[in-house]
Amino acid sequence: MLDVRGISVAYGPLTAVRNLSLSVADGAIVSLIGSNGAGKTTTMKAIIGLKPVSGGEIYFDGERIDGASAPRRVGRGIALSPEGRRVFPQMSVLDNLLVGSYSQRDKAHQRKTLDQIYGYFPRLVERRSQMAGSLSGGEQQMVAIGRALMARPRLLLLDEPSLGLAPIIVDEIARIIVEINRDIGMSIILVEQNAKLALNLCNEAYVLETGAVALSGKGKDLLASDYVRRAYLGI
């Protein structure tokens, strides 16, 4: 479904991602792990189109998309729940979610997805009309994920969804990720610091180090690898 071929991304003189390739099969969960500054977020931004690539190609459904604008890629079925939440602080929770369905004009569909999201995150129901900026960190994370889901994407990019969430919610999110993937067959790229969680959830995983893929394989295999255990699981 998604095929990233040898992309490089630079911030001015600094190359954050170099010659990186990865692919996501239909209905798969792919995890990206790596230390701070490894280039995970940058990769996500390159896929969604917030950051232009300086080399390489990106294919989605067999079509080349690295020249398309972000809104166009969203229209094709990619959505991002960004790192650091980035909710619209002065809009209500409901409006945040509705903005998420901007490219999804069908009202009935919209309602259905909304109910689904309220089902995943009951907390958001009671906060519906509160300004998103005054929510607690965890609540904002729920809004950010919900907002991405509202676009009913076929490929969901989750950048550190467990960041700042209570363990009980992290479990919840993990469950929801699996559920979404199973119910709708949505493909997911998951960037996580919580490597154990990420590797447990995914089919395929990539380990990024200083902007390049250092290791890749089945999640379960990596979980068992000595190197990963030492470097990313702290064991």
Binding site: G12, P13, L14, T15, E209, T210, G211, A212
Partner: protein
């Protein structure tokens, strides 16, 4: 912090610039240039005052109001017989005290709200000057403001006044530079960039901003008074909303980061209307276009061009080092 890196080259540059400014009366083709230079000195003080306020993260659209207050205070006192040399400083103090009082109340406001209140203050100052005609002469203003005299030497004509204005401007420039280098200057910059974090580093950001506002407005008061004694006239129209905007314009076009920006802004924009005068009718359109183009293509101010040019080499070397470092 970022201490302005002063290399021998810069010292030479500064010395040449100051030397040219000092010698201007001798090589200027006529006194019109001396007049323009004097106006430039006064503008520079006003813009530096504004730059100090901006350094702490606030924008004063009422800067003209403080110049107006300073101008009237100095004019009225000196017309009562006080020596102008003294009333200049009283004007600065009065403007500063008003700014401190106002600042204490309004600086809790952020951004545009602060801008609005400062703007409202300057409007009130103009309206009061208009309405209290028994004191201020109303809309007609005050005529016959005495000239400045230093130990009996009267600064009546342009060549006499210019050196004094230049000394005032250079002193302000030096003090501003010192301020920017000091811890207080660093606190101002920090406050501007992230007030909450600065507050959490133990710095009373409210006070830092009040001080910046007070000092900047005091300078405006002084400059307003200086200009009044130069023109020997002041009226409510002397410092309106448009003056406040034009100082801001000089600051933004010149650049906000150091003391160089205000200098460049003043040097470019003070004579610009004169250069355009021959285009009768089109001059304001061209002026507006120059403004827009400057902001479009040199958004950080013209001074940033000079800085970029100066540090190009430095950036190139560190840039290379950075890339090298990234390679695993």
């Amino acid at each position: 912090m970022n201490p302005p890196t002063t290399k021998p080259m810069s010292y030479v540059g500064i010395a040449v610039a100051v030397g040219l400014a000092v010698l201007l009366p001798w090589f200027a083709p006529n006194q019109f240039y001396v007049h323009l230079a004097t106006v430039g000195c006064i503008n520079l003080m006003l813009v530096l005052g504004l730059a100090i306020i901006a350094r702490a993260g606030q924008l004063s659209m009422g800067h003209g109001g403080f110049a107006l207050v300073g101008g009237y205070v100095s004019a009225l006192l000196s017309m009562k017989g006080w020596p102008p040399l003294l009333t200049l400083f009283i004007a600065a103090v009065v403007a500063a005290v008003i700014a401190a009082a106002l600042g204490w109340i309004i600086l809790r406001l952020r951004g545009v709200y602060f801008v609005l209140v400062a703007f409202a203050f300057s409007q009130i100052a103009v309206l009061l000057a208009l309405d209290m005609s028994s004191i201020t002469g109303g809309a007609n203003g005050l005529v016959g403001v005495p000239p400045i005299s230093i130990f009996g030497y009267v600064l009546r004509a342009k060549p006499q006044f210019y050196p004094f204005a230049l000394v005032c401007a250079l002193t302000t420039l030096l003090l501003t530079w010192l301020l920017y280098r000091s811890p207080l200057g660093t606190m101002m910059a920090a406050t501007a960039e992230n007030q909450r974090l600065t507050e959490s580093s133990g710095i009373d950001t409210h006070r830092v901003q009040v001080i910046a506002f007070t000092v900047g407005s005091g300078i405006a008061g002084f400059a307003g008074a200086l200009s009044t004694h130069y023109l020997r006239f002041i009226s409510p129209d002397s410092y309106t909303f448009w003056e406040s905007v034009s100082y801001l314009t000089m600051l933004v076009v010149g650049g906000r980061d150091g003391v160089l920006g205000p200098v460049v802004g003043v040097v470019v924009l003070t004579p610009l209307p004169e250069l355009l005068r021959s285009t009768e009718g089109l001059q304001h359109i061209i002026y507006g276009a120059v403004l827009v183009l400057c902001l479009m293509f040199v958004p950080n101010g013209l001074a940033s061009l000079i800085q970029t040019w100066r540090s190009r080499q430095r950036v190139a070397t560190t840039g290379a080092a950075r890339v090298a470092e990234e390679v695993p």
